[in-house]
């Protein structure tokens, strides 16, 4: 199909089918469950899924949209134009889907991917354990293969959205005697079974998006072993790359939006001769804004490079490190600029936005910890990219 035709048809279809309440991108991942639980959201998901547009670039054979690069770009632009939320979200689409496409058997793909696209099954990730954070490969959850089934015992932590997930992909230790990277397998398991217990973890921000997950003779089927036995580490690592290299959405916004920090500062601090009255606050805003712009241009550069056929370079290694620092500082600044009004916890004395600013500041302390701490990211850059030696 001609791209212009596709654009026109897509625009028309989106206008007709996207509920108003779903034209509110972006949202924070912690709120995903809530955002996608409304009636509107389910209607929207089903309509999008029917066209394969919940997974626009995935093969049609599994129910995906089958779009090529240019078509997908047009699609993204049209979605962004009305700020449409994606038809579905979550770790199925972002992580295990691509992994199965790369490492799964055809049978595994057939069994799991269509349900991810329709949104029928949602996924969570079972990686971290209490003693294994940055040093993930030291994980201890045991899985013993018996009669075509893995029997799992142990504990996972920081399982994002486990309380709402139907399935989990997990790294488990299948050979306790092998070297630490060599005895790990990658398995899929149903969360709705008696051997699995979930306990949400209250965070300093007051929300509980993560859980502890306990396995007490929990079962994963042998046919749900991804890749080979004891070869799970490389699958898991690859999957983390999907997470770390996930760059901010590139869809270009129309017009120049007002600087969001400046808006806050003007409200809470005020102006003198058109300049924010507190010169240090103004300087912080400029620094943060310039950093964001620099990062945005870097994402754009990498995107253009990959489009032009250049092999993905070392630049992507900075995405998680810089991106998470930007997010953390952004939230902190939005709280700080509000002064005491940005330090409220609850109650009518504060507006919704003020409370969000405070909670957001606390919540986003996590972004430099989860998904590979900033320290681990720096290790990766210094060793793999710069080639600095080990001790």
């Amino acid at each position: 199909m001609n791209l212009d035709t596709f654009r026109a048809e897509t625009r028309e279809w989106l206008e007709a089918n996207c509920p108003q309440s779903m034209r509110n991108n972006p949202f924070h991942f912690e709120d995903a469950h809530e955002v996608y639980s409304t009636d509107d959201a389910i209607v929207w998901r089903d309509r999008m899924a029917a066209k394969g547009w919940t997974a626009p670039t995935w093969p049609k054979a599994y129910g995906g949209g089958g779009m090529d690069y240019d078509t997908h770009r047009v699609f993204q632009e049209e979605m962004a134009a009305i700020k449409a939320l994606p038809g579905a979200t979550g770790m199925g689409l972002a992580m295990i889907g691509p992994t199965l496409m790369e490492y799964g058997t055809e049978e595994q793909r057939q069994r799991h991917i269509p349900k991810i696209i329709t949104g029928e099954v949602t996924w969570c990730q079972g990686y971290s354990e209490p003693g294994s954070g940055s040093d993930l490969a030291s994980l201890q959850t045991k899985a013993v293969l018996k009669d075509g089934k893995f029997v799992l015992n142990g504990q996972k932590i920081w399982t994002s959205g486990a309380q709402h997930a139907d399935w989990m992909f997990a790294l488990v230790r299948t050979d306790p005697n092998a070297a630490k990277h060599d005895g790990i397998s990658f398995v899929l398991l149903d969360m709705h079974q008696s051997g699995v217990t979930i306990k949400p973890i209250p965070l300093i921000s007051g929300s509980s998006p993560f859980c502890e997950t306990f396995f007490d003779d929990a079962v994963a089927l042998e046919e749900d072993l991804v890749s080979e036995l004891n070869k799970g580490w490389s699958v898991g690592k690859r999957l983390l790359q999907y997470e770390r290299s996930a760059a901010p959405s590139r869809a270009k916004k129309k017009g120049k939006p007002a600087n969001p920090y400046a808006l806050t500062a003007k409200e809470y601090i005020g102006e003198i001769d058109g300049k924010i009255a507190d010169s240090e606050a103004r300087e912080k805003i400029v620094k943060q804004t310039m950093l964001e712009k620099s990062m945005q241009l870097t994402v754009k550069r990498v995107f253009e490079e990959s489009k032009s056929g250049k092999a993905p370079g070392a630049t992507t290694s900075i995405f998680k490190l810089v991106g998470s620092t930007i997010s953390k500082e952004s939230s902190a600044l939005q709280s700080e600029l509000r002064g005491t009004a940005g330090a409220g916890w609850e109650g009518d004395s504060f507006t919704e936005k003020e409370l969000d600013a405070c909670r957001g500041w606390l919540r986003d302390r996590a972004v430099t910890i989860y998904g590979g701490t900033n320290e681990v990211q720096m290790n990766i850059i210094s060793k793999r990219v710069l080639g600095l030696p080990d001790k």
Partner: protein, 374 residues
């Protein structure tokens, strides 16, 4: 003045450390929060503090206090900062300083003994916006016979929900922002025309919005000339709060250093990684300098000196250091530092609220430069 504690102050510190650790540990603060105790502090603990004489530390002996001075109170607050012990001690001491400095002989005789005995809680009502603004009062006070009628709104009044008397910064002339025309008034919290709404802050400590609708106020100091007394009172507040922040900073830092020694990843304690070691040593430098600055600023309060520069120096340094240390402590603790169950997050929340109180670093750097003439 000497930058070391004397014997009296050392004894006070030891006794405060012992009391806070055993009778008012962080677990107590957590319980207060979880139970949503309206008063915001533990009454029994507070009674014990009174019995220990803490409410009288800065009250002169002639008014029934101990006369141990601000250095004495500072070391107590530092220990309270370590255990996040909630009490109206700080607010009341600030209020008492205002009365001691600006009150009439009659007011001092009537009020200071009650403070010393723990019968009178005080709070300073100065802010009207989300950022510290000492001369920003729009609240008006109209003379009515021998008293004043106060009308306006105050925000972020620390301990405003429990204080018996409020020291209200109002305006008898001029406009918001003018240094002239400010007048300090004593207003009973429970008198007619006063409406108090407790605000729930991220640090789970007391603060309140208070509106005044023709409430009765008693003059403290000179009418229209309150800015000097206010400056001095705020400097007392800044320095005492810095002392509390110093305690929180040290506790948070020490807990983090301990964690670095025990938490293992990649087969080694994470404290063996030079990246973290260097960051820890930078924090150590900041903490050591913070101690010196707070000590000097407290001494300057006792030994009449020009305290404005030191107050701004202390508040800036503790704002920045508490912020650095509490943020680094979360990062170095990793995931567990993000959980509500673990105490380390309390320090970051407390740091955030302390930072905004009585002037953030931007405010005080600007003030410091202005005082120094550039």
């Amino acid at each position: 003045m000497p930058l070391v504690l004397n014997e009296e102050q050392n004894m006070l510190r030891d006794s405060a450390k012992d009391f806070c650790t055993n009778s008012a540990p962080i677990a107590q603060f957590r319980q207060l929060r979880d139970d949503k105790i309206e008063a915001g502090f533990d009454q029994q603990t507070w009674q014990q503090m009174i019995e220990l004489g803490w409410t009288g530390i800065t009250v002169p002996e002639e008014f029934g206090g101990l006369g141990f001075g601000f250095l004495g109170l500072g070391v107590v607050l530092e220990e309270c900062g370590r255990t996040l012990t909630a009490s109206p001690l700080l607010s009341t001491a600030i209020g008492a300083a205002a009365i001691a400095d600006g009150g009439s002989g009659e007011q001092k005789s009537a009020l200071l003994p009650k403070v010393a005995e723990g019968e009178l809680l005080l709070a300073l009502a100065v802010e009207e916006s989300a950022h510290h603004n000492p001369y920003g009062a729009a609240t008006r006070a109209e003379k009515a016979g021998s008293t004043y009628q106060v009308t306006g709104k105050k925000t972020f009044v620390i301990d405003g929900n429990v204080a018996d008397k409020l020291i209200v910064v109002a305006r008898t002339s001029g406009n918001a922002g003018d240094r002239d025309g400010l007048t300090l008034l004593l207003v009973d919290r429970q008198s007619a025309g006063v409406t108090v709404t407790k605000t729930i802050m991220t640090d789970s400590r007391n603060a309140a919005n208070i509106s005044f609708d023709g409430a009765n106020g008693e003059l403290l100091g000179a009418e229209g000339n309150g800015a000097d007394l206010l400056d001095r009172t705020l400097d007392v507040a800044r320095i005492l709060l810095s002392a509390e922040m110093l305690g929180g900073t040290q506790e948070c830092f020490e807990r983090t250093v301990e964690y670095l020694k025990v938490r293992e990843q990649f087969g080694s304690p994470i404290g063996s990684f030079q990246g973290l070691q260097h960051r820890a040593s930078v924090m150590f430098c900041e903490v050591e300098m913070s101690k010196s600055v707070v000590l000097e600023a407290l001494s300057a309060l006792d030994d009449p000196d020009d305290i404005a520069e030191l107050a701004s120096l202390a508040k800036t340094r503790l704002n920045d250091t508490f912020n650095l240390v509490s943020a680094e402590s979360i990062q170095m603790h990793g995931g567990i530092g993000m959980t509500d169950e673990y105490d380390i997050g309390f320090f970051m929340k407390r740091s955030r609220v302390c930072e905004a109180a009585f002037g953030n670093s931007s405010f005080h750097r600007d003030r410091y430069a202005t005082i120094q003439g550039y």
